[in-house]
């Protein structure tokens, strides 16, 4: 969007944005710098904005204290499967809700949307009992199945439906005349055109899975099965005191892929949400 602003307005706006940046940038800065400070310097007063002494051994120690590489892999592969699964199910469900006439389609869609209203804290105990009866406690299955068939997928389905509704119907009619069946129309016309929406869904689904905290601590009990947010809480010494610098080193490594994804894909993310008509 291009707007003509006077230079004074521009300076004022940039100033405002700089102020708004502080609550986002400062904690990140504090996390990154504290991860390389000796533990005694972290809470020094006045606080050191720029570390005076560096200790990079914290990054190595994070891998020694816990099976951190394994936990990293756990988080990564679970997020990948959840993202893939959500993309498949939400795009197909969204397409069906947007384009296929079936009895009670709107009612059913409402029922699905209600899933968004229920906080995960409410369903976690029944889910625990369910997975217990399926013998899936202390496995990664709940962390895959719950998001793919739960609230995140509902939100994704909603985004995909809104996107497909906005696609010109004539494109699909043209494809029908060109000789395609329903699934081929979905696969060769609707899906390739929904890349912006798929991108947005992929990013937020990945983030949701990557940041998932409540579910792992409920369903997982052995450290080599842990995911990253759960593992971060485990960097403590023999007396249960937090080993701040190592924990923050692990936190930095946890946040890094997310930051990278955001920097690369922020445009797509914003455009995707804008395309779905979800902007204000």
């Amino acid at each position: 969007m291009k707007t003509d602003l006077s230079p004074r307005m521009k300076i004022a706006l940039y100033g405002l944005m700089l102020i708004l940046l502080v609550p986002f940038v400062f904690p990140t800065w504090w996390m990154v710098t504290s991860s390389v400070k000796p533990i005694s310097d972290i809470f020094a007063f006045p606080p050191e904005i720029i570390p005076s002494r560096f200790d990079f051994s914290t990054y190595g120690q994070a891998f020694e204290l816990q099976p951190f590489a394994k936990q990293y892999w756990n988080s990564a592969y679970i997020a990948a499967i959840v993202t893939g699964g959500t993309l498949i199910f939400s795009s197909m469900a969204g397409y069906a809700f947007a384009r296929i006439d079936f009895p009670f389609a709107n009612t059913l869609f409402m029922v699905v949307l209600i899933g968004l209203l229920i906080p995960s804290e409410v369903t976690i105990v029944p889910l625990f009992r369910l997975f217990l009866s399926w013998d899936m406690i202390n496995t990664h299955w709940p962390l895959i199945l719950v998001p793919v068939f739960g609230a995140p997928s509902v939100f994704a389905t909603f985004i995909m439906r809104q996107f497909f509704i906005a696609l010109p119907k004539e494109l699909e009619e043209a494809a029908r005349v060109d000789g395609l069946g329903r699934f081929k129309i979905f696969w060769t016309i609707a899906l390739p055109l929904s890349k912006p929406a798929l991108g947005a869904v992929a990013i937020f689904t990945f983030l949701h899975s990557w940041n998932l905290y409540l579910e792992p601590i409920v369903f997982l009990s052995s450290p080599e099965k842990f995911t990253l947010p759960q593992a971060l809480t485990q960097f403590t010494d023999a007396y249960g005191g937090a080993m701040w610098n190592i924990q923050l080193a692990a936190a930095t490594m946890t946040a890094l892929p997310v930051l990278i994804v955001f920097v690369i894909a922020q445009r797509q993310f914003v455009e995707g949400l804008a395309h779905t008509g979800l902007k204000g």
Binding site: E170, D178, L193
Partner: protein, 353 residues
């Protein structure tokens, strides 16, 4: 190529009837235009033939094949949409070859057909581009190319020119007509623009409110409209209508006396119809008209006038230099006039006039 037959075709959405039993015979290779005001059901009829709308009752046949329950892909038709409906993520070449690809044609065959279509439509240098990089006229050509590559039995056009500017519309109108003359494929063309209908059609079907008002050649509809609706719809500027009664060999409206052929029905309310170009300037002894607005077009002059308190419109080859408020004297050839029943809107047959 094949003839197309609509037999007593009806369409309703729930309790709402939108097409009330339509019969149309389209001969092999004919260019038929469905025309009518918006909401008259013309697009619905086209989409029923395409297979994009179900047929509530009646029968549609392409050749000898009744297509009522066939999927669009089994009907061997090709359609050009109002907004072109080009696949934005594919190049021009992929757009045009798409239907062949999904019908299992070989790469060489697709290439040959696409090159042939691109050659006819002047698209050869744009094959690698995407629709977003083309102008409106080029997109229109791609949409046509996509239709012709398959060599279907019937072409369907759904208001294909309405997204183009006036100048381009005239150009594309000519191109579509030329394409039809070259390929001679049966064509059904939907438009609300009677000029398109007049200029392109072998046969025009005038629709109104889900009924057929009249079917005929363009000049037939122009010269012999069956009712006031067709008379008003076909021709631009539109036919003038003046209310009054016949008295002897004149039509009397207020203080004006307009000539009619002898023997016209006397004594009931009628509507007198005369096309703007059928007024001629007379030296004296004709119809008196008061000038309201004069619009010189160069090639002709359009004049809004009042006759017996009713606005009428005249088109003259001469340059009329009358001032508003002044008077013109007009002549009318009784053979060019039409009389309509004021109640039913039906035109009185010539021999009864």
């Amino acid at each position: 190529m094949a003839p197309v037959t609509f037999s007593n075709v009806k369409k309703s959405y729930g309790a709402v009837k939108v097409i009330h039993g339509v019969d149309i015979d389209i001969a092999d290779g004919e260019f038929v235009v469905l025309v009518g005001p918006s909401g008259c059901g013309k697009s619905t009829l086209l989409r029923m033939l395409a297979g994009l709308e179900t047929i509530s009752d009646g029968e549609i046949a392409i050749g000898d094949l009744v297509v009522n329950d066939l999927e669009p892909k089994h009907r061997d038709i090709a359609m050009v949409f109002q907004n072109y409906a080009l696949y934005p993520h594919m190049t021009v070449e992929e757009n045009m070859g798409f239907s062949l690809l999904h019908r299992g044609a070989s790469t060489a065959e697709i290439k040959e057909r696409v090159d042939w279509a691109a050659g006819i439509l002047g698209l050869a240098e744009y094959l690698g581009r995407r629709p977003g990089q083309l102008s409106g006229g080029q997109r229109q050509r791609v949409a046509m190319g996509r239709a012709i590559v398959r060599n279907p039995k019937v072409f369907l056009f759904d208001e294909p020119l309405s997204n183009l500017d006036a100048k381009l519309r005239v150009v594309m109108r000519g191109e579509i007509k030329a394409l039809h003359q070259k390929l001679k494929t049966t064509t059904l063309y939907v438009t609300h623009d009677q000029v398109e209908a007049m200029t392109m059609a072998d046969k025009i079907v005038v629709l109104n409110g889900g009924h057929i008002e009249q079917i005929g050649t363009p000049l037939d509809l122009y010269d012999n409209p069956v009712n006031q609706f067709v008379a008003a719809f076909i021709g631009s500027p539109s036919m003038n209508f003046i209310k009054g009664r016949v008295d002897g060999d004149h039509f009397v409206a207020g203080d004006a006396r307009l000539p009619v052929p002898p023997g016209a029905a006397e004594g009931r309310d009628l509507v007198y119809g005369i096309r703007p170009e059928h007024f001629t300037l007379a030296a004296d002894g004709g119809i008196e008209a008061e000038v309201v607005v004069v619009e010189p077009m160069g090639s002709e002059t359009q004049v809004t006038m009042r006759i017996a308190g009713q606005n009428v419109f005249g088109t003259f080859r001469e340059r009329v230099l009358a001032l508003p408020g002044s008077r013109l004297t007009l002549n009318v050839d009784p053979a060019d006039t039409h009389l309509f029943d004021a109640e039913t809107g039906l035109r009185l047959p010539r021999d009864a006039v």
